[in-house]
């Protein structure tokens, strides 16, 4: 049995900076989606039995990078065409903004987590692969807890709004938890709006609005991978 036992969302980095100075010190160098994912994960792992042994499944942003990185990419690419790059140097902090597994690494360092880790890339619908991976790991008895986290932004080029989501799963039920009954896929071609965090946030919102008992969350087509429809069946307690 796999239970969703806690979930958090974060969209306000100003609040994180003000209310969690230690966390902000750790994440300030990173780009927005990573900061938001880590802020959400930091909160949800307060409900974990042991943050150092949980499986970590992390979704890379579909809109990666940062405004600084895009500006720099443009300067370099244009400079190459004119042969004017010379001894140009890149700020290592901006290099970090290009790294797809950054949230997973930063989480591991912060929580001294050496456990199983799976970084999923910034393609549409990978959130549901992450959810399937959680079930596979916990059902097989590899770990007792798993973190699924994601952060993304509406656009990287101009520092548009972002969202971080973190979900904690356990093989042990809690007084308020939702048992993951099944994840069902069916063939369904659709247009998508790639975003690492919106789909998971939508599922959590559905669960939060549900009274006790069985429920099905039909993933909106635009939040899938564009090849398969996804329905998540749960039992809420």
């Amino acid at each position: 049995m796999v239970y969703l036992v806690a979930a958090t969302q974060e969209s306000d980095l100003a609040r994180v900076r003000e209310e969690k100075p230690e966390l902000w010190r750790q994440v300030r160098r990173y780009n927005q989606p990573i900061q938001l994912a880590l802020a959400a994960a930091d909160e949800v792992m307060k409900f974990a039995q042991d943050a150092s042994t949980a499986a970590v499944i992390s979704l890379a942003p579909c809109q990666p990078g940062s405004a600084d990185l895009y500006r720099w990419g443009s300067v370099v690419t244009t400079g190459m065409a004119s042969g004017s790059l010379g001894n140009m140097r890149m700020n290592p902090t901006q290099t970090l903004h290009a790294v797809d597994n950054l949230a997973m690494s930063a989480f591991a360092i912060a929580h001294q987590n050496h456990a199983y880790c799976l970084g999923l890339g910034g393609a549409a619908g990978q959130a549901w692969c992450g959810l399937e991976a959680v079930v596979e790991r916990l059902d097989a008895g590899f770990e007792e807890e798993a973190l699924l986290m994601a952060g993304d932004q509406d656009a990287a080029e101009d520092g548009a709004a972002g969202l971080g989501v973190a979900l904690l799963f356990s093989v042990h039920a809690r007084p308020t938890s939702a048992r993951l009954v099944s994840i069902v896929r069916n063939r369904q071609i659709s247009d998508v709006k790639p975003h690492a965090a919106n789909g998971l946030a939508g599922m959590w919102s559905s669960i939060a609005q549900c009274s006790r008992g069985p429920m099905s969350h039909v993933v909106p087509a635009e939040q899938t991978d564009g090849f398969s429809g996804v329905t998540v069946n749960l039992e809420v307690s």
Binding site: W72, T77, R89, D100, A108, Q126, E132
Partner: protein, 388 residues
């Protein structure tokens, strides 16, 4: 767990600096040849990193280079396996977003969109792996696990990267990870475990393997290159830019792979090392190997491929797993190209100069990603061998 199916490799495809096929890759390594060279368009740009592992088969002007390189490796693997993409899952890494110069100016290429386009001809599961330099190895491991546990019957796994852009060359140079120009012969830019190492040479590339159950391979009469028998991952939880000095994270993933395969370290016949030629990376890897292989480290052949093909990032692990599978199939361990003077702290039984025929049957292949993700695979020769 009721399902524990045997999983084998029945097709392989590779585009690297050594050529456009797995045959080119393997033969180049056996010949102790480096495909890394000076890249004229990088010279023209004026930056101080001008060597790399370029894939000649696809024009650098082709803005669809990321798709084309990946699809060629995938098609080679599927053709060899005689499988159709529509029968397979797709576990793949397309690496990082890239920035290129198009006819209309600056072009941003999304790795996620590239993955989705590549995935369109496959049936599920379709998972995009993001574990930096360990991505290719983890992609194979995740596909192995899906098939082993009955969640898929066959998968194409691997990765592709287009990294030879000023954006990444300057970025990695800033992290002191790539070998900048200093007058050396370009083909010797990357020298794993060597006293004169100064970082890796970035490379483009793609590698793909077809994985399926041993049972289905036998039924179809497919070629079997190797069996995947173990997979392990770990996180360093140490630093974003460098490994633990004692290689503890790397050691943990190796031990997990051994435990998963239910084999002892004595049963490993050879190691395909990550061997990036970075100062701290090689030291940490050597330390980890000496600990895992305890009494045997002086007589266990170790070989790395990046001296010959550079570091193809998301493709690196799968290109190296392909080499490991060839070692399983033939028993031969290729040399580590450009290794001449083993550095203090990097002592292992390195294969130098000529390939070594040790009748290797069980091989460990490891990859360590920037940020501290580590992945290891154990491959084993299947008794009925290369030709079914």
């Amino acid at each position: 767990m009721s399902y524990m199916r045997r999983v084998v490799i029945t097709g392989m495809g590779a585009l690297s600096a050594l050529g456009a096929t797995t045959h080119d890759l393997w033969n180049g390594l056996l010949a102790n040849r480096s495909g890394v060279r000076r890249v004229q368009r990088l010279v023209d740009s004026g930056i101080n990193v001008t060597t790399g592992g370029e894939v000649d088969a696809v024009s650098p002007q082709d803005l669809d280079r990321d798709h084309v390189i990946a699809n060629r490796a995938i098609d080679e693997a599927l053709a060899e396996s005689k499988r159709d993409a529509a029968e397979c899952g797709f576990i793949w890494s397309t690496g990082l977003d890239t920035f290129q110069m198009g006819t209309g100016g600056f072009v941003h290429r999304s790795a996620g969109r590239c993955f989705s386009n590549l995935a369109s001809r496959f049936t599920g599961p379709r998972r995009m792996i993001a574990a930096a330099c360990a991505s290719g190895t983890q992609a194979i491991g995740e596909a192995f696990r899906l098939i082993q546990n009955g969640h898929a019957d066959a998968c194409v796994a691997g990765g592709s990267s287009v990294m030879l852009t000023p954006f990444y060359l300057i970025g990695f140079a800033g992290l002191q990870a790539v070998a900048i120009d200093n007058g050396d012969e370009p083909s010797m830019a990357c020298r794993p475990f060597d006293k004169r190492r100064k970082g890796f040479a970035l490379a483009d590339g793609a590698g793909a393997v077809v994985l399926e159950t041993h049972e289905s391979a036998l039924e179809r009469g497919a070629p079997v290159f190797a069996e995947v028998i173990g997979f392990g991952v770990s996180q360093d939880a140490f630093d974003l830019n460098r490994p633990c000095d004692d290689g503890a994270g790397a050691e943990l993933c190796m031990r997990r792979a051994l435990a998963d395969a239910a084999v002892s370290s004595e049963e490993i016949d050879a190691v395909n090392a990550h061997a990036t030629a970075t100062y701290s990376g090689d030291l940490a890897e050597a330390a980890a190997l000496r600990k895992v292989f305890a009494e045997r480290w002086q007589s266990l052949p170790v070989s790395g491929s990046k001296g010959a093909i550079g570091h193809a990032m998301a493709a690196a692990g799968v290109l190296e797993a392909i080499v490991a599978a060839q070692t399983c199939a033939t028993g031969i361990v290729p040399p580590t190209v450009n290794l001449h003077h083993v550095d203090e702290g990097c002592e292992l039984d390195h294969v130098i100069g000529d390939p070594r025929d040790v009748n290797a049957k069980t091989v460990l292949s490891v990859s360590f990603g920037m940020g501290g993700q580590n992945a290891g695979l154990i491959l084993r020769r299947v008794s009925h061998g290369l030709h079914g």
